[in-house]
């Protein structure tokens, strides 16, 4: 008598970390979170679990800050007029003033850091 064909369930040989990585690569974040929770509930321990718990976890609220962002209309107006002259560069702006520009963000950052300003600059890359 012929036996019923039944494919035995394949045993999972990959580590939890590998399986979680695969889920992350597939944008299955909920699946990755569930699998990590399952591993932790089973008492499994793998080297990447602490960092996975951190990056798969929710954003952590740190604090409220009493800071107001100024009206950036002057900066955007400057960009509208001048951005064509700074393509491929980082620019730092405060109101309608160009504070620094360079292809290297470090140079712009250093230049701005050396200034005393009463308005937080806006720094962006001009494509």
């Amino acid at each position: 008598m012929a036996k019923a064909l039944r494919k035995p369930q394949e045993e999972e040989t990959r580590s939890y970390t590998e399986r979680i990585r695969e889920l992350i690569e597939q944008d299955c974040v909920q699946g990755a979170r569930k699998l990590l929770a399952e591993a932790l509930e089973r008492g499994e321990q793998e080297e990447d679990f602490p960092i996975l718990q951190s990056v798969l976890g929710p954003a952590k609220f740190l604090r409220f800050v009493d800071e107001r962002e100024p009206d950036r209309t002057p900066e955007f107006q400057w960009l509208k007029t001048h951005s064509k002259d700074y393509r491929g560069q980082w620019v730092a702006l405060a109101e309608d003033r160009l504070l620094a520009h360079s292809a290297e963000i470090q140079e712009v950052h250093a230049a701005v850091k050396a200034m005393t300003l009463n308005r937080r600059p806006l720094m962006l890359y001009v494509e």
Binding site: R21, I24, E25, D27, V29, D48, I51, L52, S54, V55, L56, G57, P58, A59, K60, F61, L62, R63, F64, V65, D66, E67, R68, E69, D71, R72, F76, L79, K80, S83, W90, A92, I105, Q106, H109, V112, K113, R120, P121, L122, M123, L124, Y125, V126, E127
Partner: protein, 147 residues
Amino acid sequence: MLTLEGAAFTQGRSTFSDHSKEAPELSAKIFVRLLVGDLDSAVIAQLDTGAAWSVLEPKVANLLGLTKAEGFSTFLETRFGRKAGKLVKVPIRFLADEGASFETQGTFFICSDWPDGRTFLGYSGLLDSIRFAFDPQANHFYFGPGV
């Protein structure tokens, strides 16, 4: 700032841009300003609830030393193709025009092979943990920590 059934829903409000000279696409997008790490200057990021992860553009990440920070190495399928990088926790501050700005630590994908100036705020580990709302007629973005 915004209330829901009498209780505070969000605490801060900022004005967003719905287009950018730096991302010349035809359809409207939402660009907000924020601080990243201990950077003194505000930067611009595109809000993308459809993206699984936030992405921090590499020059800013490098400037803040985040390319060497502890993270989880992985590949992601992105609008710029399959990219290798790592997921890292990054402190950011949502800047308010009115109400309270707030700081949170969200998960960002950091990848050296990523176009300059393109920072995205995605869903997992960031937008899924905060409260936000839009007033598209006024270009207002309301935000606050989740509960």
